[in-house]
């Protein structure tokens, strides 16, 4: 079992990073959550893994994530999805009228809740004759298999799925719920390690890159944002997690606020422009989006 000193190190880390408390008596929980990570990092036991945490920031982020039982919710944080339907989609329906198709990237898609949440919004809001593809990518092949299967446990379904959408888009299969075929057919999957050069892909109209940059060190974060910038349509959108930002990381983005959400858009004067980052500005109507902060 984890040593007392190491347990209090982990408890302090958790309190500092998430304000979550991890009290004495939860040693078994810390042990159970960190052991798989210790194995993955090549450490013989959790104590040796905690020694690694003392010097490795990226590993600390992974450990914090594992300790916070970060189960993915449907429509996670709500506001980004509101911004999607109320701000981004109306804009794209105007500017993509010629091709009537949208390409959306769900990067680090995990078990697919984000991808299928977007599918539901598109199913409800895309006009007739329009199509959309959600390109779901993850580093983990087993996660991609889960996305393709589109099956979720009862406990997963409880997490943020509105009951009306549960009954319209899911059917029960044994003890799980299966997402409707018409939504599954909108999603393609591909294994992508964000830290490595991306394979060839479409230019995306919208990129959801939420709650994943925290796993990487500063240089990798910068590099990922730079490479994502090249894959986003010049008038497209990037969404990060609610606590993440491109500020001080990459100046090739313009930040705009929509309600409580910050939307990132490629800087119009080309990637990695020299102008100073624009201050966040409010988006009042979709049409104001065409004038970016120059």
């Amino acid at each position: 079992m984890i040593s007392e000193a190491n347990f209090s190190f982990v408890a302090d880390l958790l309190r500092r990073e998430t304000a979550m408390l991890c009290e004495t008596g939860k040693e078994y929980l810390v042990e159970a959550r960190l052991l798989p990570l210790a194995r993955a990092a090549g450490d013989a036991d959790v104590d040796r893994y905690v020694d690694r945490l003392r010097t490795d920031a990226a590993e600390r982020a992974r450990a914090v994530d594992a300790l916070t039982i970060n189960e993915t919710s449907w429509f996670r944080d709500l506001a980004p999805y509101q911004a999607f339907t109320e701000v981004m989609l109306p804009h794209l329906l105007q500017t993509r009228a010629h091709r009537r198709h949208l390409d959306i990237w769900s990067a680090a898609c995990s078990s697919g809740q984000e991808a299928y949440s977007l599918c539901m919004l598109l199913d409800e809001n895309l006009p007739a004759g329009w199509t959309a593809t959600i390109h779901a990518t993850d580093v983990s092949p087993s996660m991609l298999e889960r996305v393709q299967a589109g099956r979720y446990s009862q406990v997963e379904m409880n997490r943020g799925m509105p009951a009306t959408r549960l009954v319209s888009y899911f059917t029960r299969v044994g003890n799980e719920w299966e997402v409707a075929a018409k939504l599954r057919s909108m999603v393609t999957t591909k294994q992508v390690n964000l830290a490595l050069p991306f394979p060839p892909s479409a230019t995306y109209d919208v990129v959801f890159l939420r709650n994943v940059l925290i796993y990487f060190d500063l240089d990798t974060k910068r590099d990922i944002l730079r490479r994502v910038n090249a894959r986003v349509a010049r008038d497209g959108f990037l969404l990060l997690g609610s606590t993440e930002t491109t500020l001080d990381l990459d100046d090739s983005w313009v930040r705009e606020t929509a309600g409580r959400v910050v939307i990132h858009r490629p800087r119009p004067d080309g990637p990695h422009g020299t102008a100073a980052a624009a201050a966040p500005r409010a988006i009042t109507t979709p049409t104001t989006l065409t004038a970016t902060g120059a």
């Binding site: 929980l29 009862q154 029960r172």
Partner: protein, 168 residues
Amino acid sequence: MSTSTAELSMTHVHAVVEEVWTTFLGGGDPLYEIAPPTDRDPAEQGSVWDAAITVTGAWQAAIVICLPDGVADAVTRAMLGFAPEDHLAPEDLIDALGELVNVIGGNIKSLMPGPSKLSLPLVARGPISPSTSLVEACRLDLGWGPHSLRVVVSVPADQDRDQQAEEA
């Protein structure tokens, strides 16, 4: 009604129990399947609690969960958020175990074709035997830390015969 779709899968029952268990008790010790006990029979670990519920309608069944004292106590404390030093009254155990079998029973019911209705739970210290017209359709012996517990689903003999005939 096709009985092949009405087959009660042991794997699904296990998944249901596991899901209810970890949700109520947090991500601590997992449940693991054990061989039908010889020396670990819950009935032989001192006194036991039985919690039972019945399903009537398109599918009929009795679901009984058998828990030794130690498990019943731990589950009740976890569900009610009681500290180890807090006193547990028998009414606390009866209420918490009743809700446990209600949630497990409801989720098992939803594995089968409906419509069916769930009874109110019945909890007793000591064994609850389903009606003699029922036969055992699924028995799950589970280990939890040093303890063990058992979930038994019994169905009417003719319902079980139909299923076996379909499988044959």
